[in-house]
């Protein structure tokens, strides 16, 4: 029995199915949830965070359905929503103390150290209305860690963080994933690549892939190409293949794309990255026209 079991979960808003028949079992480690905007990632996150209920299916935490006693999970849940607000007239310290109180925690010492962990100790007594976007995001990260959660759910956590903070946050997630479940939802493939031992890909509400990064990479082995083409050929290539990158240079456009065969005469095969694998998977899904859904 896994600690977290997601059994055939579906969620409908009006006539729109945001999730269809999603199943996952997770014991520990960082699980990256990838998918384009509107794929259903945040919907799944909200269900796991006990804020939303599935229309069909169920979620079990340590063997018991969440709907039976959501507080059982809430006591050990850390959740960083994709969009959240802060109380602008409070300082970061006051706000975190308030949230610790709301969670019923005696966490003064941990709170102080968390302020250091997210590099807000020196700004901790400034009102939150003076904070930049990245600082606000770090307050959000700190509040998710207040109760030393067994299940940490972070939805697009690196939004607003500068590159340095982003790298540091990734290593924090990796470290946390050692002895608990960390669910990282994002559409930034490099965030997942740097942290996740397992990747689940959602597209249009359906789970399209679930496995270690190597498994995803194997699916596009031999299908990733780099080529130098005239700039005016780019639109044509983009319409035919998923293009991972295109950089304009003096000798033409340097293109990296996913294709079953060489897309141009001078194309050369290269080792796939996770981003290539993701793009390939999305492309395959569209070509299948929803096969298996």
């Amino acid at each position: 029995m896994s600690r977290l079991e997601i059994e055939s979960v579906s969620k409908r808003y009006g006539d729109l199915w945001a999730l269809r028949d999603v199943s996952l079992e997770i014991d520990r480690g960082v699980v990256g949830l990838l998918g384009p905007n509107g794929a259903g990632k945040s919907t799944l996150m909200r269900i796991l965070a006990t804020i939303s209920r599935p229309t069909e299916g169920r979620v079990l935490w340590e063997g018991r359905p969440l709907t039976d006693d959501p507080d059982r999970l809430r006591r050990t849940l850390g959740y960083l929503p994709q969009e959240f607000g802060l109380y602008p007239r409070l300082t970061a310290r006051e706000f975190l103390r308030y949230l610790a109180s709301a969670k019923g925690l005696d966490a003064d010492e941990r709170l102080e150290q968390l302020l250091s962990v997210v590099n807000l100790r020196e700004a901790a007594d400034r009102k939150l209305e003076t904070y930049s976007g990245g600082m606000r995001q770090r307050v959000g990260i700190a509040q998710a860690l207040l109760n030393d959660p067994d299940l940490l759910i972070v939805d697009e956590p690196t939004v607003g963080l500068d590159p340095e903070e982003r790298a540091r946050f990734r290593s924090l997630l990796s470290e946390l994933g050692g002895d608990r479940i960390v669910l990282l939802s994002t559409h930034i493939v490099s965030d997942v690549e740097a942290t996740a031992q397992r990747i689940a890909v959602l597209d249009d509400g359906h789970l399209r892939a679930d496995g270690p990064p190597e498994e995803l990479l194997a699916a596009v082995e031999g299908r990733v190409w780099e080529a130098v083409v005239a700039a005016d050929r780019l639109p044509d290539l983009r319409s035919r293949y998923p293009v991972a990158s295109a950089a304009h240079r003096a000798d033409g456009a340097h293109v990296r794309l996913v294709a079953d065969g060489p897309p141009t005469e001078n194309a050369r095969q290269v080792d796939p990255s996770l981003e290539d694998a993701y793009l390939g998977l999305m492309q395959d899904g569209r070509e299948d026209g929803g096969e298996g859904r």
């Binding site: 909200r46 209920r53 809430r74 006591r75 959240f84 019923g104 700004a123 990245g134």
Partner: protein, 553 residues
Amino acid sequence: MSRLRTILDLALGDFRERARRYSFLLTLGAAAYLAYTVHAGWWLVRIGEYAPASGPVRLGMLVAQATGIILSLVGFYVVKGSVERDQRTGVGQILAATPAGTRLQYTAAKFVSNTAVLGAMLLVLGALAVAMAWWRSGVSAAAIWQIGAPTLLIAAPTLVLVAGLAVLFDSVPWLRGAAGNVLYFFVWSGLIGASVAGSPALDLTGYALIHDSLREALAAARPDVSASGLTVQLRPGGLPDVTRFEWAGVSWSPGAVAWRLYWVAAGTGLAGLAALFLHLFDPFGDRSGSREEDAEENGAEAGDPDEEAAASTGTAAADAGTTARGDGTARSPAGGFSASGLPSPRAASAVRAFLRTAGGELRLLVSGHAWWWYGLVAAASVAAFLLPSGTPPQTVLLAAWLLPVSAWSSLGCRERQHGTEQMLFSAPGPRLRQLPAQLAAGAGLALLTAAGPVVALFLSGDLVSLAALGAGAVFVPALALCLGAWSGSTRPFEALYVVLWYIGPVNGVPFLDFMGVSGQAVEVGASGWFTLSAAALALLAWPGRQRQMSAVG
């Protein structure tokens, strides 16, 4: 695009946003209910013992008076808050970055949108009045004019002024919140009072206009009677008997029409004036001067592009061991973003967890006020001991319990107002612990601000009055919690509370005197009534919170 077109497009977008809300339907429903009160004969307008005969003329006059008295108050709270919404949602900043984003165009668009919303309410009221006339005796073109003229020329200009006032209150930062909502009640009272003064320049509600017309008609119909002074009564049943006389309605001379259009001009002028105060596009503009103060205190100006650029690159700090950042934080090269070795939090028992949550809520309610707020709370406590003999100590609550209005009004809706729902609703006990904790904190705040009267009553041994005060201390936050949980807004409580405050404690109506200021309230056992009401309101807040949680999911 012409400026007028820009204003109309902005206004249309704003109106659509409001009209597609569930609350807009409720608003129209309230207008329909107001029409029903007119139809049901709950309104009486009389001079002494004489009142105009029934018919379309009287109906039109009642629509005008109902608008002047009720819609001018309720309508303000309905339309106020659109600037705040634009700030909260970020739409204001998007508009600021477009050519349309000039202050005057923005306030003009808000004014038009406010007028449209209030106009929709008036349309429902007027249309139902015509329908009622048709139901009673058929309707002629003359009857439509007799109802329509007061609606268009008395009621509509009143609401145009209210629309302008709402834009002004929305634009002046310190009037945007609870202080403005409470202050408007006094402004409204002043405007109603000024109408009675008789000068057309002060006659917003058309009271003096109708009074003069009725008095002339009465003098013509009953030369033997000398009566003056227009009384407007709203009472469900039990209206006094009156003698009816024929009245042809207000004679609409060009001068009379011009005085009504004067209020339209005044409303428009207020919306223009609002542009001078509007700091919509500067997130720090609400606190003129305080941003600079914050920057001085913190050594940084958050949000400054130069600072943010510095944040991404880092600059050498005086302390060689740290990297200074534009946001005012410092990072140790080796430290940061590692959670190893952090002390684990201690999970408290259920009782301790509740007390911690309630304590956190109370801290939140008490913190963040200006220094003078705390000074006034302290002064009110001291004042309870300095009152003339014979004056009950709880009299100071008339002032002291106006101070926490903004804090109380956040109960039940703070999460939605600030976007913290997901964080708090995923914490343990969003209903069983957090909601009762908010109620307890609200009651705690009531008792804190009533510390002087509480001690004075205790020392004097007046435990009955003390119990009445205690019931009020629970009733008020329970009312706030319920209204906040259901509406998701602070305004319903702020508006209703000040009306209750005026009718109950100030005017001594026993079953609305939640402070127990009047001895009568204590004698009739109003404290029991308020305790029961508090319990009912707290229970009603529960499904409201459930609805909020479902909305987030």
